[in-house]
Symmetry: C2
Subunit: 156 residues, 2 copies
């Protein structure tokens, strides 16, 4: 089983809106849990979708890169203000993943950071699948990093 591939390339504004709309539709379909493991998150529209899910009782967990938190337009403050847990690395190397797990049953991976540049200008791809053989290693990676980046494990 598989679901679909989204290619974001600025062939037209309509194509971009369709691609972003497809991604948002998948995110809105979350029933219980969404685990977001994305290097940079600065796109307000996508951030708002997570806040909405959180307010509707979905368990939202976010892992991102420690340096990207301070990047212009970062939405991490928005998440924390809303009461969503965010964890991050403190290494000079990157937490460079760009994947999302929905209800432990669908994985979205690819080149796509959650930035306006990625949405409106870059060439990007997203693969969306519900193949459990693919979901499982992403779930294991999220679980590992979530524990690794627990506040109790972070020292300055």
């Amino acid at each position: 089983m598989w679901k679909s591939v989204i290619i974001l390339s600025v062939t037209s504004l309509a194509a971009v809106e369709t691609a972003l709309g497809d991604l948002i539709e998948v995110i809105r379909g979350t029933k219980k849990t969404i685990d977001v493991c994305v290097f940079t998150i600065s796109c307000r529209d996508l951030a708002q979708e997570l806040v909405n899910l959180h307010e509707n009782g979905v368990v939202v967990r976010i892992i991102t890169d420690g340096e990207s938190i301070n990047a212009m337009g970062s939405q991490i403050g928005t998440f924390r203000s809303a009461g969503i847990q965010v964890r991050h690395n403190r290494s000079s190397f990157f937490m460079h993943h760009k994947f999302v797990l929905i209800d432990n049953a669908v994985v979205i991976n690819g080149s796509f950071n959650w930035t306006m540049q990625a949405v409106t200008g870059n060439h990007e791809n997203l693969l969306i699948t519900n193949n459990m053989n693919i979901c499982n290693p992403y779930e294991e990676e999220f679980t590992k990093l979530w524990a690794l980046y627990a506040p109790i494990n972070l020292t300055n």
Copy 2:
């Protein structure tokens, strides 16, 4: 059908070597064509694998980001010296894909740029699959960008 997911995370040097080894094994399995569409390529070991394939008669085509060509350690010069065709965008936006198509039958996608930092330090993931429903849209995207970035279409 699917093949495997490679997670690169520096848990140990051995784990990194295994992950890189697994990727190289897939690349070495190329029979006729390999289409590489990767934002940044500066890892010498991976670049050498493409040169070896080219010298053994495999058709190697590379699309990369125009700005990354000038980044430190870029292997684009190596490819061009070896006679491998490389095409790139000239936009301020990124050609941000990180996917590879092998024999139009296997696709590798994920967060992974071909850099030493990605290999030795970052948290990264690669999904490898031979599901044709997944391969086809990546093949279409490569074909589209290859034509778009043909030298005849580039103006200064």
